[in-house]
């Protein structure tokens, strides 16, 4: 009988321990997500995405899926609340940070006024590699936008609002810096000409397909609307066989794409961007690799985080 008895929930501020909210007659099978919605009603400024609810003021956040009666609480549950700050959805952030480079690069490509000397306004480069580079760069970001809309399944709905400023500065800033030189009237094409460009394009396309294949494989690991985590394995698609050696081949392929683009344009700012991106992706890959190892006892031991056998 006790199982069906309705519970009471009190929510305290994690820092001040003030009683913020008292909920009466809560179903024992209510989820944290539902409790967050109820809390939101009494405090409209704290929408569920910015609520961090924990059992302990300094403890980890409880998940939205956690069920009240399965938590170590009595008939009256005491939770602590911390405001995560204004939140923005991952989808919004991705779309904004990717749309920027796409448009910014095109502005430089078309030599919109006030960038280069006036006599070059709206002219086009005489080097065919510059046109190719524009197509590759644009394709890359269109692919990213489409993947954000149709492929990726995000674990988290939101991130802190300030991230959008940080991320956009990074992506938009580097895009402008690269595009300035590649589309410059004084641009110098690669030293080894057509051979170099052809090799670079091959690497770039190979890695774009590879990266896409990995995104599809990861999507298929997770049923729609779910947040389950499983070990990814190679599929029939040869581009996914790299999973045998690497935990995060999406990052491996991404690095490859940018190495290809660097080779294609022979532009130092592109090399810098590739290097910075590689450092960041290595940090992420190592983190992901570590959580795979922690979560799965039978995680394949041959795999490295991002570079086979090396890193």
């Amino acid at each position: 009988i006790k199982h069906n008895k309705k519970r009471q929930v009190e929510i305290l501020d994690a820092k001040t321990k003030d009683k913020l909210c008292f909920l009466d007659k809560v179903e024992p099978n209510a989820t944290i997500g539902e409790i967050k919605s109820m809390f939101h009603k009494s405090h409209p400024q704290w929408y569920p995405a910015r609520q961090s609810i924990r059992l302990d003021p300094k403890g980890k956040s409880l998940k939205d899926e956690d069920v009240l009666q399965h938590l170590p609480v009595g008939t009256t549950a005491t939770f602590y609340f911390r405001d995560l700050g204004a939140q923005i959805s991952w989808v919004t952030v991705f779309l904004t940070e990717y749309a920027g480079p796409l448009l910014i690069y095109l502005m430089f490509y078309f030599r919109v006024p006030f960038i280069y000397a006036p006599k070059y306004d709206f002219t086009t480069s005489k080097h065919w590699v510059v046109h190719l580079a524009c197509m590759c760069h644009s394709f890359h970001y269109v692919k990213r936008l489409l993947e954000t809309l149709f492929v990726h399944r995000f674990s988290h709905g939101t991130m802190p609002l300030r991230n959008i400023f940080k991320n956009c500065t990074y992506y938009w800033g580097f895009a402008a810096w690269m595009a300035y030189y590649i589309n410059h009237p004084l641009y110098t094409p690669p030293t080894y000409g057509e051979q170099q460009i052809r090799l670079a394009l091959t690497v770039f396309l190979f890695c774009q397909i590879g990266n896409f294949s990995i995104h599809i494989a990861l999507r298929n690991l997770r049923p729609p609307g779910s947040k389950t985590r499983k070990i990814p394995y190679p599929t029939k698609n040869p581009f996914t066989w790299i999973f045998l050696l690497v935990s995060c081949p999406n990052y491996t392929y991404e690095l490859g794409s940018w190495l290809g683009f660097t080779l294609m344009t022979q532009c130092l700012p592109v090399a810098f961007f590739t290097l910075v991106g590689f450092i960041q992706m290595t940090v992420w890959a190592k983190g992901k690799h570590r959580s795979y190892l922690k979560e799965f006892r039978d995680y394949p031991t041959l795999r490295s985080p991002i570079l086979p056998f090396i890193l």
């Binding site: 030189y181 410059h184 641009y187 110098t188 030293t191 344009t265 130092l268």
Partner: protein, 244 residues
């Protein structure tokens, strides 16, 4: 604004003398004591050099030349402090220490050494004096702290002199960079132009202007952090004397 690069590293040092569990080993402490003694001595040499040259010449002009070599040597030597943080024998942030030391080294080599024409400017003397007094106090502070015998005078000096020395150093640094600008533009120093094989360009003149602008957000933050540190460190001593 790297003039008195104090407070941020200071907290770390009191922490290290308060930490009873883990910290640098005896060998590390011995090394650090030697390092800090040598640096104190080095900056004293610079101070003495300045005074002697001033007395000999009777003017402030061109004193830089009399201490150019020890200044370069001991200021560049401070790069070791980044290593100390990286290795862990000094509990400060590598990034913060790196930033502070690199900005000093930048001013010493990439501005004053590289642009001969600014070496006779009075602004150089302004920051050299600020740095010299600051470093003598700072390194002796560290030396005494490591030996667990810190005279209140040194602690007080470290947390008080910056009030004047910091703005003085910043003024000297900014004026020096500003003085260097026309020469950098004229000679294209450290600049790369298009076209070139790596499709890259760098304008040192613009870069220096951006460096000057960066002082605007950075200097107040560092300065007021030091002011807060002062209240914290020197503040509670006054409370004790009130209690008595």
């Amino acid at each position: 604004m790297s003039a008195p690069a104090m407070g941020t590293r200071k907290t770390a040092h009191t922490d290290s003398s308060n930490k009873k569990k883990k910290g640098p080993g005896t060998l590390a402490i011995a090394y650090l004591v030697i390092y800090n003694v040598v640096m104190t001595a080095g900056w004293l040499v610079i101070a003495v050099g300045l005074v002697r040259a001033y007395l000999a010449r009777g003017s402030y002009h061109g004193l830089y030349y009399s201490i150019e070599k020890p200044l370069k040597f001991f200021q560049t030597g401070a790069l070791l402090e980044i290593l100390h943080c990286a290795v862990g024998i000094v509990p400060s942030s590598v990034v913060l220490t790196g930033f502070q030391v690199m900005s000093r080294v930048f001013l010493t080599w990439a501005v004053t050494h590289s642009v001969r024409e600014v070496q006779s400017e009075d602004s150089v003397l302004l920051f050299v004096v600020a740095w010299t007094v600051t470093e003598i106090i700072r390194y002796s502070f560290y030396t005494f702290s490591l030996l667990n015998h810190l005279p209140y005078l040194i602690k007080w000096a470290r947390y008080t002199f910056f009030v004047v020395l910091y703005p003085m150093g910043v003024a000297g640094e900014l004026l020096t960079i500003y003085a260097a600008l026309p020469y950098v533009q004229k000679t294209g120093l450290y600049s790369i132009t298009l076209p070139n094989n790596y499709n890259f360009s760098f304008d040192y003149h613009t870069f220096l202007i951006l460096v000057m602008i960066s002082y605007i957000p950075l200097f107040p933050q560092l300065y007021f952090h030091m002011i807060r540190q002062r209240k914290k460190v020197l503040g509670h001593v006054e409370e004790y004397s009130k209690v008595e």
